[in-house]
Symmetry: none
């Protein structure tokens, strides 16, 4: 999948979502219709300013044009994390994971529906995923270590192998943290 075709899909998706015509978006963004047309056609190689103008006209951050559901998983081996808990009046909290010195952790809210298995391909070295189940039952993890998890469960696993997500209940909601070490 070439980056240009990804952008092409993204722009078209966001434009239709915003219910704008190609011409309208072009004039709003201040770029030529032809430019936008070719772009959505998957041709060319847009410049940063062009992309910026389009994203601004769509009223979305530029990064939205680069987020594809499937390509965002990365991998490493995870070490065990210390687990501490503190008990307080009316509040009890458990440390799920403390952060290694310089790593990137992006948060996702994920909804799953039963009946389908979501496969995620392996990504680069040094990525770990953290999953926290908020609602429902879920089976997830790397192929060789699938775990069944219930509400409140926390699971941390290396993602340098293919892994998958599957809802075991009707609907499931979880927080997924993707971690890339520095």
């Amino acid at each position: 999948m070439t980056p240009v075709s990804l952008i092409a899909q993204a722009i078209q998706r966001e434009r239709t979502r915003a219910k704008m015509s190609l011409s309208a978006l072009a004039s709003q963004a201040g770029v030529a219709k032809s430019t936008l047309s070719q772009l959505e056609g998957g041709q060319g190689n847009p410049s940063l300013e062009t992309l910026w103008a389009i994203a601004s006209a769509l009223n979305i951050p530029l990064s939205f044009l680069f987020e594809t559901p499937k390509s965002d998983f990365r991998i490493i081996r995870a070490d065990e994390e210390d687990q501490l808990s503190s008990d307080l009046s009316g509040l009890s909290s458990t440390l799920l994971a403390d952060c290694p010195k310089s790593c990137r952790r992006d948060f996702y809210r994920v909804y799953l529906k039963s009946g389908s298995v979501r496969e995620a391909a392996a990504h680069t070295q040094s990525t770990v995923e953290h999953a926290f189940i908020c609602r429902g039952k879920v089976r997830l993890g790397p192929e060789d270590n699938l775990q069944e998890l219930s509400e409140g469960d926390y699971f941390r696993y290396p993602a340098d192998v293919k892994h998958s997500y599957e809802a075991l209940s009707d609907k499931a909601m979880l927080v997924l943290i993707m971690e890339n070490p520095g």
Copy 2:
């Protein structure tokens, strides 16, 4: 702040993080040194393929180059439209927060019972907390910006001032991420 200067900073930041020289990155990415040099100097207007090549050589997703200085406050409601949804697979996910350059992020699972307000003193300078509500209703945040949140809601707020947590329902469960700048 022009998009080019933002990219300039981002590339330079990521390159030093990866401990690569400008020349090394250029050859690794397959772009001319001059191109990269001008880019980091804040001049020019890079094309998508150029950015893609650089991001690949740095082994990071493209969106990392577009981290815009964001405000500390952000709420994403549970019913807001998913941006990264892929309807086919029965999975839909929403990016709640991407990670700034080098910060520490620790995860806590928190249970709250109604009837008590948990006051938290100010943390160290520029600490930010992310709260994701898994179950129940909660009122939380800094004194001057308390928010009522329901299941699936996400709230980010500065925690270097006094802040509090209170369950509005019988029981509440949430994921709390404490973020300390590197």
